[in-house]
Subunit: 345 residues, 2 copies
């Protein structure tokens, strides 16, 4: 099989390579007729420009990377889908890479940027604990989307972020449960280390309890297992079982991610506890699946599509130097469904 190159096309059309290049790239300085002729030949011979050669030469490689930490979390699926769409619109290539739990996302980013000559990076999920120095080395703009809080010591002018106020929205959820009359509220929290999302949501939980004069009971704080991937249904299931085995009484269970809540729902069911009659259950994120469980799960819906769109747009704008780094915080929406009811008292 013969793979034509730009030279072959040029030869076939009896023109120079630069003319073919101009035709491909919609360059203005070209005779419409010549362009027509060239495009015909390209179609006929099935010529497709070699991406490597292009990126090697081009300063602007028209590609970004999306680095996802925690692929197990279904919350990201929609996010990625939307980002992908936006990239296609802008005719940007999107390099999707999953970061293992033990990998350092900035190291991976650094490698990928150099390897592929990317123009920007989107970090999805994970937590944030990197030095500003290391980040600067990346040398391309990056946006943190739905990542835990970034430490204060990093200049906010050095990066962009897209997220909900995890701590506040988490507090809102717990306040909603308190409003229903619950005082013994257990929490299921993943990777509550450092400045992760889990930690923030746990803090929101504590805030809400404190401001209502409810004692924070350490035994009601259930850390998910580290060996399992955070935010998986399995983890939610097993952790809830552990929580129940402890025997501590509670009337509401708040899982800091919907995937955990779905696993929890099953564990509660197996323990003979009815939701919401015996235990109210709440999640966080707002993934589709919470609509289809029985009972459907009350959750804090993050505006995924909007966030994904804005993430991509923001990155492109920064690349095009249309804007400076920004920090956008979205409002989550309390989606009350069937899994929560009055209780406690």
């Amino acid at each position: 099989m013969f793979e034509p190159t730009i030279k072959d096309i040029a030869h076939i059309c009896g023109v120079g390579v630069s003319t073919v290049s101009r035709a491909i790239n919609d360059h203005p300085d070209i005779n419409p007729e010549t362009k027509e002729k060239i495009m015909d030949a390209i179609r006929e011979y099935g010529y497709v420009p070699n991406d490597s050669a292009r990126n090697l030469k081009r300063v602007d490689a028209k590609a970004i990377a999306v680095l996802v930490k925690g692929i197990a979390n279904p919350f990201f699926t929609n996010m990625i889908k939307t980002i992908e769409k936006e990239c296609k619109k802008k005719r940007y290539a999107m390099e999707l890479s999953h970061i293992e739990a033990d990998e350092d996302e900035v190291d991976v980013a650094q490698k990928v940027v150099k390897e592929k000559r990317l123009r920007g990076i989107i970090f999805l999920g994970g937590l944030f604990s990197h030095s500003e120095e290391k980040l600067k080395k990346l040398n391309v703009p990056f946006v943190f989307s739905t990542v835990g809080a970034i430490p204060e010591n990093i200049s906010r002018k050095a990066y962009s972020s897209i997220s909900v106020d995890d701590r506040r929205e988490s507090a809102r959820m717990v306040e909603y449960l308190i409003g229903l009359g619950h005082t013994k509220i257990a929490i299921l929290v993943a990777e509550a280390q450092e400045e992760s999302i889990g930690k923030l949501r746990l803090e929101g939980y504590c805030d809400a309890l404190r401001s209502h004069g409810i004692t924070i009971e350490p035994k009601l704080i259930c850390q998910t297992q580290d060996e399992l991937s955070h935010f998986s249904m399995e983890n939610g299931y097993l952790s809830t079982r552990r929580l129940l085995e402890r025997g501590e009484a509670f009337t509401a269970l708040y899982a800091v991610a919907d995937a955990l809540a779905i696993g929890a729902l099953r564990a509660l069911y197996e323990a003979g506890l009815r939701v919401p009659q015996d235990i109210s259950l709440a999640g966080f994120d707002g993934i589709d699946m919470t609509d289809y469980t029985v009972p459907s799960i009350t959750t804090m819906r993050q505006p995924v599509e909007e966030m994904a769109k804005d993430t991509t747009r923001l990155l492109f704008d920064i690349i095009a130097k249309k804007t400076k780094h920004q920090h956008i915080v979205y409002d989550a929406e309390l989606a009350v469904k069937e899994s929560t009811a009055c209780g406690g008292s």
Copy 2:
């Protein structure tokens, strides 16, 4: 910021570029001390070889593509994860691309192969209706994994495939339901066009009914909506509602994909039907989530990890010319859970 190239490293170390190249690529003809010195400099200056330049030069680009049709289907998530792992082991880059429902996967494949100089392709999902001629143009080996049946007119020597026998396993599931006493079995089927997976599973359903002398009732065959993405929970939910509205009586519902079954479970619940007491529900695929629903869903488990591993290995072996094209068919495993019970009387 300064991005060192191979030249810079060579200059710094006082050696030629080829020596650096040899060091990077674990070439044998190099003095261990020289290599040591070079590797140190590479670490110190943070040198990362430019992938574009490498691929431009190399004949073997060390990269494959995975083209997924139907990202909404959670069944693929695990598959992709496993394939990704295997690629990393072999130090191959993996290009993941989602194919829209209206896109032609072979066209996309063709474009991607030329753009990125790939060594092989994995097609995940979707159906198969392409001419052999077009496939040959791809010019790199490809493996169809969990794709519907490939038309007879294409030589089986021209491609590899990995799948379960969708028709037979589907029949097995229906036979299991019949064995429980069900005779009025409704089916929820997505994209029953051409040689798709949906069609095959529908045929298996018909086979089982026929061989047990049960009349095939067209009204019990519920096509999911075309506008929605196939294999989504939403589609399962809405289609089941439509089915129920028709008023046709049935005691078992078989959804040809677990994602559909999960949506169906909810629709049945809303209609006041108990599963499995009033209606038995069965799915297909064996995604994790079926363990966590209430009730858990009886399903045909495809050996995902094994299939994904073999898919990748097979492709690599073909690339390395270690083997010819193969067609591997796996046994699915009937996973009986809580959603099915005796019925029909």
